[in-house]
């Protein structure tokens, strides 16, 4: 379940981008200002999910396995 949290979040971002592509101004960048090109909410969701999956989840699973091993001994 811990390993699925990040991908689930990232999938949410992808689904959102498909449902509301106009929220990603990078797809239609002409005439957009700096802030509108920086603010891409579906991409934020995608990045949060990927960051969690790559940076937090692996260590957490490792520690969970260690705790279970210690408990079994």
């Amino acid at each position: 379940m811990v390993l699925s949290l990040g991908p689930l979040c990232a999938l949410g971002g992808v689904v959102w981008a498909l449902l509301q592509p106009y929220r990603i101004t990078l797809l239609h960048p002409y005439g957009q200002g700096f802030w509108w090109l920086l603010s891409e909410p579906p991409i934020y969701v995608l990045l949060v999910g990927l960051a969690f999956h790559w940076l937090v989840a692996p260590g957490l699973v490792e520690d969970l396995e260690d705790a279970e091993r210690e408990q079994a001994q």
């Binding site: 949290l5 603010s39 909410p41 934020y44 949060v48 937090v56 260590g59 957490l60 520690d63 260690d66």
Partner: protein, 199 residues
């Protein structure tokens, strides 16, 4: 006028805070699944969500200064800044072992309740005035009702269901903030006084 042209639209600020709440939601969901003992095994992870919460409170102060246009608006943003910093600071103290009593966890439901009341009080328009007004009313009631979840979590910190409910609460806060637009209709309604919708 020059400063204003460098400032992001207020809806973008809502989206950035929504991202902060999403990070908190993932942390709390994972913590609920593995349990606080396993989550706290690595010091950096122990400090992760308290730091995010504290930073969100700190960043709310510039929002209070630059993005508010009335006293009540400013007081509301100030109360969110203070309660988020209080909750984040208390969590940092607990993580560092400087604070011992688990009752410091009550700062989270306190922050949600005060934040919810401030959201409802500072929103002057009715639910269907615009999407922003709807979002404020919805968010206010989510925060007030949702404050019971971290309240329960304070006394049952190892409850998987309560932990996941809290993560779901944070996802709902994040979703409403992501849905915010400066001037946009809600369910087809937009007051003519709200102005021209952006998109």
């Amino acid at each position: 006028m020059i400063t204003a042209s460098f400032m992001p639209p207020s809806e973008h600020v809502h989206w950035w805070f929504a991202t902060g709440f999403l990070i908190l939601a993932l942390c709390f969901a994972a913590r609920a699944v593995v349990g606080p003992e396993v989550w706290d095994r690595r010091p950096w992870r122990r400090y992760l969500f308290p730091s995010v919460l504290f930073a969100m409170g700190l960043l709310m102060f510039p929002v209070m200064v630059f993005f508010t246009n009335s006293t009540i608006h400013m007081v509301a943003h100030g109360s969110w800044a203070e309660t988020m910093m209080l909750a984040g600071g208390a969590q940092l103290g607990l993580a560092a072992g400087k604070l011992k009593s688990p009752l410091w966890n009550l700062t989270i439901p306190l922050g949600l309740f005060v934040g919810g009341v401030a959201i409802l009080v500072h929103e002057q328009n009715a639910w269907l005035y615009s999407r922003a007004a709807f979002g404020h009313h919805l968010l206010g009631w989510i925060a007030i009702g949702g404050a019971t979840i971290p309240l329960v979590l304070t006394f049952r910190p190892r409850s998987l269901v309560t932990g996941l409910c809290f993560a779901a609460l944070l996802v709902s806060v994040s979703t409403v903030l992501y849905a915010d637009r400066d001037t946009a209709p809600i369910f087809g309604h937009l007051s003519p006084e709200a102005g021209q919708p952006h998109r």
